[in-house]
């Protein structure tokens, strides 16, 4: 290990007792090492505990609805995966998948039983998430498509030329 890395390891309390003594001895006689150690120390102190505070830019309901939907889809897929299973497993997996789906719908609906309303159907190639925001009184169906293949807003609207003013 080179000297610089040893200095850093001393700072990070990663050296054993013997190595610690050796590096401290070096620090006592080398001004350059002291300066470097000081720089490393400043950085360690500056960074630790000073992470930028970030908030998730999505609401609890929207964020959770996507997680719940993925869980349900993956459980359904796992249930549908053909494998050499004993006969009763064929019934167990779909049942648990269904139970999970019901649980997901129950959670999304805020614990209210569903009565056939607030349900959606989509073609197989369309991926949607739906949820209800109680506080904003909005029922949302969101078509997740990172390529934005369907765009009801025309390009002209998005990028109107200055001349149209």
């Amino acid at each position: 290990m080179n000297t610089e890395l040893q200095l850093q390891a001393l700072l990070d309390v990663e050296l054993d007792a013997r190595e610690t003594r050796e590096v401290e001895a070096l620090l006592a006689q080398d001004a350059q090492s002291v300066a470097l150690m000081q720089e490393l120390k400043w950085m360690k102190l500056a960074v630790a505990g000073n992470e930028a505070e970030l908030k998730l830019p999505e609401t609890r309901e929207f964020y959770w609805s996507k997680i719940a939907r993925t869980i349900a889809v993956e459980e359904r897929q796992a249930a549908a995966a053909p494998a050499e299973r004993v006969w009763w497993l064929k019934f167990l997996y779909p049942a648990s998948g269904l139970a999970a789906m019901v649980a997901v719908l129950f959670v999304i609906s805020g614990g209210r039983p569903t009565d056939g309303a607030d349900t959606e159907s989509v073609p197989e190639d369309v991926n949607v998430v739906s949820f209800r925001s109680e506080s904003e009184q909005m029922s949302v169906v969101y078509v997740a498509d990172e390529n934005g293949n369907f765009s009801p807003v025309s390009q002209e609207v998005k990028h109107e030329p200055e001349a149209d003013k």
Partner: protein
């Protein structure tokens, strides 16, 4: 002089009978006129960019902006088009919002509305929405360049 009971209806009884018939006819009339549900549909574009230069886009009203902003991450919400329509029970009503987007609304029994979002002639989503709640129905999705579109439907 003695007072004898009579089989003839009195004037009062006749009036009550007349009013009952009248009320019955009125009810029949009301029942035969289907109740329409008014729908307002607004197509909105959500983006983090400033308003594109031009004249036809305007920001959505502050109340709706606040609601959308609490749910979605975009900073700006521009109204692209707005349509009002009246939907009759059992009859599909198509509301065109842009060249490529329209919604088909059908009022079903038990206070339900079936809404189909049609894009490029294809049904993208079919949603059954309960009209017993005061909720607006928001159909939305990803658009290009990290933007999004929204169709906000209000029923009353």
């Amino acid at each position: 002089m003695s007072l004898k009971p009579t089989n003839k209806p009195s004037r009062w009884q006749f009036l009550v009978l007349l009013l009952s018939f009248g009320w019955g006819f009125l009810q029949l009339g009301v029942a035969s006129v289907p109740v329409e549900t008014r729908v307002q549909a607004v197509l909105i574009w959500g983006t983090d960019e400033a308003k594109p230069t031009g004249k036809s886009l305007k920001e959505v009203d502050p109340k709706l902006r606040e609601k959308l902003g609490k749910i979605f991450k975009w900073q700006k919400y521009f109204e692209v088009s707005r349509q009002n329509a009246a939907a009759l029970p059992g009859k599909a009503q198509i509301v065109k919002l842009s060249e490529e987007c329209s919604v088909e609304i059908k009022i079903l029994p038990e206070n339900l509305a079936e809404v189909k979002l049609i894009g490029k002639g294809k049904t993208l989503v079919t949603r059954r929405h309960s009209l017993t709640k005061p909720d607006a129905l928001v159909l939305a999705g990803d658009d290009k360049n990290n933007t999004a579109w929204f169709v906000v439907l209000n029923f009353n």
